[in-house]
């Protein structure tokens, strides 16, 4: 179980790292090499993003990777096959990150069935709030996959409590307003926000949006269980290649 895995591993490592990979960017083989490199750098969890043509919650770096994977011809079924391959090859939990329409068009039931088969343990779909997620939640539950919800600094206390009721595995807290890929100044406001989150849930917390340096991870140690690194790794991949990414993750904690 995802939640237990995070708790145990956090005790061992102080703070976990979750990486993010856009499946099929720049192509499937490279994606595989990237996953391999990141895993060998000691990362603890990984989001596999199934590309979508309209990724409204993503910033320019991830957006371009989505686009370019699609232009290269990546299909949703390729992503399932890819997931299967990496979950077979590497011994950390993998989650799917994507957008509602990918799940919806595939059919929710079918999507989770195939995800399960592929060894996926959780899903992050930023444009499905619980209000719109009845069948999504049902399908996830039926297949024992954890739907991860997002908590944001703009979320009211009442709504935090409401969202807490839907939590499985962990919560994905976003460090600030905005989208992925922009700079974040980690400050005491963040503590305050995390405090509000802790008040409503016992589940582990992951924090993402703007984590890009060892200092960020150090700052987060003891505050959250998981630090999520997304755009920064992709930027390094784009400019310096896969080995640099591995190196980046190695030095991050």
């Amino acid at each position: 179980m995802l939640e237990d895995y995070i708790r145990q591993r956090t005790e061992e490592r102080g703070i976990l790292l979750m990486a993010h990979v856009v499946v099929g960017y720049p192509d499937l083989e490279s994606s595989f090499d990237l996953v391999k490199a990141i895993v060998s750098a000691g990362v603890d969890l990984m989001e596999l993003q199934i590309p979508f043509s309209e990724p409204i919650a993503d910033g320019p770096v991830i957006l371009k990777a989505n686009q370019s994977a699609l232009t290269a011809g990546i299909r949703v079924d390729d992503c399932f096959k890819f997931a299967h391959r990496v979950t077979q090859s590497f011994d950390i939990p993998f989650l799917f990150m994507t957008y509602c329409n990918i799940v919806f068009k595939h059919g929710e039931e079918q999507f989770f069935a195939q995800a399960k088969e592929a060894g996926i343990v959780g899903t992050i779909v930023p444009d499905i709030p619980p209000e719109e997620g009845t069948s999504y939640l049902a399908a996830a539950a039926a297949h024992g996959i954890d739907p991860i919800f997002i908590l944001s600094p703009t979320t009211t206390p009442e709504r935090l409590a409401y969202l807490a009721g839907f939590g499985r595995g962990f919560f994905y807290c976003v460090a600030r307003k905005g989208i992925t890929g922009a700079k974040t100044t980690f400050s005491s406001e963040l503590d305050e926000f995390l405090g509000r989150c802790r008040r409503v849930t016992q589940l582990p917390l992951a924090l993402g949006f703007g984590v890009s340096r060892k200092e960020d991870v150090d700052f987060l140690k003891g505050k959250v269980e998981v630090a999520v690194v997304g755009s920064q790794a992709l930027r390094i991949l784009n400019t310096n290649g896969v080995e640099a990414v591995e190196d980046f993750f190695r030095r991050l904690r």
């Binding site: 979508f52 309209e54 957006l63 686009q67 329409n101 930023p126 969202l163």
Partner: protein
């Protein structure tokens, strides 16, 4: 009962958590406005002093004669300030922004029409203004970019995705997710997450309520059919809304028939509502933007709402095509999607060629330069004249004027004088 924000199975609020509080605030502000009896008066007064509402209803004698009937009545949204129905929406949202106490507005634009309208509204209300526009659209619609800038707006070039309208929407949403405290997103049509479809159609309903009064007064009776072009659907819903109680749906489309594209509806007696989508180069070429009139649309969720989209089996959005930039969009109003399934509105497509011919005919016969978007409604009405009798009355919503389309129209007609003019201009610039 339907859930709020839902129309049949369509609509909803598929938004990132970061925006939930902002949508709550917007919804509350809009609910407040709907309940406030003074609001609509304030809105009407603004629209009648800043724009020219009520816009006229023109009897088009020459078109009527040309086709041997039916009697053509044209609702003149082209006479609105900034040249299209878009102003109705943005001025309404301007009042909402004022009530929310925000100081900045953002918007997406494709054709540029909504961007110009929003920049105009921002100037009038004293808001800061940023407009997102795809790089491709910026290149096609430079005159509007120029005016937006002159009106004081910052126009941001969107270089991601297909660099068109849908990408501009994504980019605007991203801005909003960062700046929601100060900023309101002025969505341009009856799409997007709740409450946009409801709110935008609320403001655009001013078209239909005026038009119904006018046609009853001027023609002495209700129209047999009402035609409107459908991009996102705001001008169509605007005019249709005045006639919803006048429709009579006798046999509803078979819901098990999974979007065959053929609507089995007979409107025996009431007013028939006809939405006309962009047929582009022809439905069979797949180079079009007909989500409902073609068999190529299917239900999906994107940009925050559920509706029919032009998308592939995986749910990836397809490229769309139309000579009319304002109709060149992947999705359609969830309200119209529901009316489609309920048989309340019939959907048709008009091709680029039909649209240019209709534009030409309307200019020559009536002295009116329709926007290429609006010409879709005209083209469909022209095509269907043989189905009607000479004393039937029909109503066409002329959503905008076509001056803005001069580059497109001149190109489409291959006008040599125009090419020469542009070439001479360019030479003067490089000299």
């Amino acid at each position: 009962m339907e859930r709020p924000g839902y129309y049949g199975q369509f609509g909803g609020t598929f938004i990132p958590e970061i925006l939930v509080a902002t949508f709550d605030q917007l919804r509350a502000a809009f609910e407040g406005i709907k309940k406030d009896p003074s609001f609509w008066k304030e809105y009407q007064s603004l629209m009648s002093t800043y724009s020219c509402r009520p816009t006229p209803l023109t009897y088009s004698e020459n078109l009527t004669r040309h086709f041997n009937g039916p009697h053509f009545y044209i609702k003149r949204e082209d006479l609105n300030h900034t040249g299209a129905h878009k102003l109705n929406n943005v001025m309404g949202q301007g009042l909402v922004v004022q009530r929310m106490g925000k100081s900045r507005v953002i918007a997406e634009t494709g054709a540029g029409q909504h961007g110009v309208a929003t920049a105009t509204m921002a100037a009038k209300f004293g808001f800061e203004c940023t407009i997102y526009m795809g790089e491709v659209d910026m290149a096609r619609q430079r005159p509007n970019v120029f005016w937006m800038e002159q009106l004081g707006a910052t126009v941001v070039r969107v270089t991601d995705g297909d660099r068109i309208l849908k990408d501009a929407i994504n980019e605007a949403l991203r801005d909003w997710a960062t700046n929601m405290d100060t900023t309101h997103y002025v969505l341009g049509t009856v799409c997007g997450p709740h409450p946009y479809p409801e709110m935008v159609s609320y403001f655009q309903s001013i078209i239909g309520s005026e038009a119904r009064d006018q046609i009853v007064r001027q023609a002495g009776r209700l129209p047999k059919r009402v035609y409107a072009c459908v991009g996102g659907g705001s001008n169509a819903l605007g005019i249709f809304s005045g006639f919803l109680d006048d429709t009579q749906v006798d046999s509803v489309r078979d819901p098990s028939d999974n979007h065959s594209g053929i609507l089995r509806v007979k409107v025996s007696n009431g007013v028939e509502l006809v939405g006309v989508e962009a047929g582009g180069e022809g439905l069979e070429t797949r180079r079009h933007a007909s989500r409902l009139a073609s068999v190529h649309g299917s239900v999906g969720v994107a940009q925050g709402y559920k509706t029919y989209f032009l998308q592939d089996d995986d749910g990836q959005m397809l490229e769309t095509h139309s000579v009319a930039a304002g109709l060149d969009y992947i999705g359609v109003s969830p309200i119209l999607a529901a009316y489609y399934e309920q048989g309340i509105v019939r959907f048709e497509a008009a091709t680029n060629d039909e649209v240019l011919a209709a534009t030409r005919l309307t200019m020559k016969k009536e002295g009116i330069i329709p926007a290429l978007e609006s010409s879709h409604a005209l083209a469909c009405a022209f095509r269907e004249t043989p189905q009607m009798s000479a004393d039937d009355v029909i109503l066409i919503n002329l959503s905008g004027r076509g001056d803005k389309d001069i580059f497109t129209i001149a190109d489409a007609l291959g006008d040599e004088g125009w090419k020469e003019f542009i070439t001479t201009k360019a030479e003067a610039y490089s000299a």
